[in-house]
């Protein structure tokens, strides 16, 4: 059977599963750097982490264009998103409300997505960056709204220069994209309001 014909199921109980997932997402972005777990028994399509798939099921619909890397867009993940969320999959990163990115991939850069406008900073893209582990990697120190003092995170699998890109994004505040790091069923939020330093 072809990949397109085998679309994995979405939420079995959409109302409560999406509510629980949203609270995890809200906690992730309102308390940047805290590790949030999304629970929901779903089998994500190939190429999407459980957390990525649940976040998109919770937030994406026909009003929100989604950008996926080309391999994912043309594979089962694309078909799965079209079917469950009815989301348009776009080629142009600046048109996307949500995007999924591999943390190790060089392109596109964070600045390629929609950064919002000075009068409507809320229209920026939310980028879900899939990485290899949320703990045990290079230490980053976070500060800003949602963080009492500073908070440390140790994500693994971000390409070199990615943190620099995040810092440039933060410098655009109040414009800029909002990032969610995702691996397995875990999420860490890095909204544009967070200042990021590489700890030494």
């Amino acid at each position: 059977m072809s990949a397109q014909a085998m679309i994995a199921p979405g939420f079995s109980d959409p109302v409560f599963q999406s509510q629980a997932a949203f609270r995890a997402l809200l906690a992730a972005l309102s308390e940047p750097g805290t590790l949030q777990r999304v629970t929901g028994e779903i089998a994500p399509p190939e190429g999407l982490a459980t957390a990525t798939a649940i976040a998109l099921l919770t937030l994406a619909d026909y009003e929100t264009p989604v950008w996926l890397p080309e391999a994912l867009r043309n594979g089962p993940a694309g078909a799965w998103l079209r079917f469950h969320c009815a989301a348009a999959l776009v080629d142009d990163p600046t048109e996307a409300a949500f995007a999924v990115l591999d943390g190790a991939a060089g392109e596109p850069k964070l600045s390629a997505f929609n950064l919002g406008t000075d009068q409507f900073p809320d229209r920026s893209t939310t980028v879900i960056v899939q990485i290899t582990a949320l703990e045990g990697g290079t230490a980053l120190t976070l500060a800003g709204p949602g963080i009492p003092g500073t908070r440390a995170i140790t994500p693994q699998g971000l390409r070199s220069g990615f943190v620099e890109g995040l810092r440039e994004n933060g410098a655009l505040y109040p414009l800029g994209i909002d990032v969610l790091l995702a691996q397995g069923d875990g999420l860490i939020g890095l909204p544009r309001s967070t200042q990021i330093e590489e700890a030494r």
């Binding site: 509510q19 949203f22 937030l59 619909d61 939310t126 709204p145």
Partner: protein, 307 residues
């Protein structure tokens, strides 16, 4: 007229959980996530018709409906009180549409929807405050055009607000705004804290709770993540000050809470009581007694704690 739906014996109306449909909830949830990412910025959203009039807390209700789940305990206050019409109706609304567990104790609640007050008891990490906001735009009284206020926020052009506060000082010797006192959020956006008394403004600064603001009629959502800087606007030589009273609460004797003035007869008699009804009850249950508690208990207005 044809009746399409016959009411059965025990059925509740077939609403979705928490009244709103899932597509509306997703739209509100997306707005909330952008609101916490840009603290103090007003995110436009597609406010829906609710089964109560705009101006009765539809913005707060829509936010609560989008976030509430089976694990939540909801407290609703109106001017600090749990037992006023607006609070009772909204609590009933969520009991009916979301089978919500409700409570009056501030420390038991996970979601506190409020009109015009922040509870006296300190908020905790993990709690969510939901404010009902009538007028989300702090600059609207100074500049009626949305296109202009949007530019003023975009360019952080807040001179007009400082001039307004200065004119108060020039005319009256002090800043006369006592509620909805404008604040600067995270050093970037001037925000209307909703019509809470300025007494409550310091509680917003670095609060451990997440604070969400919903304006249903004006179709705006904004937010303060926990531990966010919220500074009330002032001048070096006229620093921001909160209200104070010459006497403590007449019922519980609290000297640290926001007091309502209640006229009690036509001879000019008046008393001051806590506006936060749960705080006042908790203190009375702990044995604190105000000077007028005996009289009030004798006339059956309040219950006196057993000694």
């Amino acid at each position: 007229m044809t009746i399409h739906q016959m009411p059965a014996d025990d059925t509740k109306p077939a609403y979705n959980y928490a009244y709103l449909d899932e597509q509306t909830k997703r739209m509100i949830r997306r707005a909330l996530l952008k609101a916490v990412a840009v603290p103090g910025y007003q995110v436009p959203f597609g406010s829906r018709e609710m089964p109560l009039a705009r101006g009765w807390g539809t913005g707060g209700i829509q936010i609560t409906a989008a976030i509430i789940g089976p694990a939540d305990t909801l407290k609703v206050i109106d001017q600090g009180a749990d037992d006023t019409t607006n609070a009772v109706s909204i609590r009933k609304f969520f009991e009916r549409t979301a089978d919500a567990r409700t409570c009056e104790a501030t420390d038991e609640a996970t979601i506190i929807q409020t009109r015009h007050r922040i509870p006296e008891a300190p908020l905790k990490s993990g709690q969510v405050m939901v404010y009902q906001v009538p007028m989300p735009e702090p600059l609207r009284r100074l500049e009626p055009r949305e296109a202009e206020t949007r530019k003023m926020h975009a360019w952080a052009e807040y001179g007009l607000m400082q001039v307004k506060l200065y004119e108060d000082i020039a005319r009256y010797g002090e800043i006369t705004k006592t509620y909805d006192y404008p604040v600067m959020v995270n050093g970037r956006y001037v925000m209307a804290p909703s019509p809470i008394p300025k007494f409550d403004n310091p509680k917003m600064h670095m609060s451990p709770a997440l604070q969400l603001f919903g304006a249903g009629r004006e179709k705006r959502i904004y937010a303060l993540p926990p531990h966010t800087s919220v500074r009330s606007l002032d001048f070096e030589d006229h620093p921001f000050r909160i209200q104070s009273w010459t006497q403590p609460c007449g019922l519980c004797g609290a000297g640290d809470s926001y007091l309502d003035e209640v006229v009690i007869d036509d001879q000019g008699g008046r008393m001051f009581v806590c506006s936060d009804s749960h705080y006042c009850e908790t203190r009375r249950a702990e044995g604190h007694r105000g000077t007028m508690l005996g009289d009030a208990a004798a006339s059956g207005l309040v219950e006196e704690a057993a000694q």
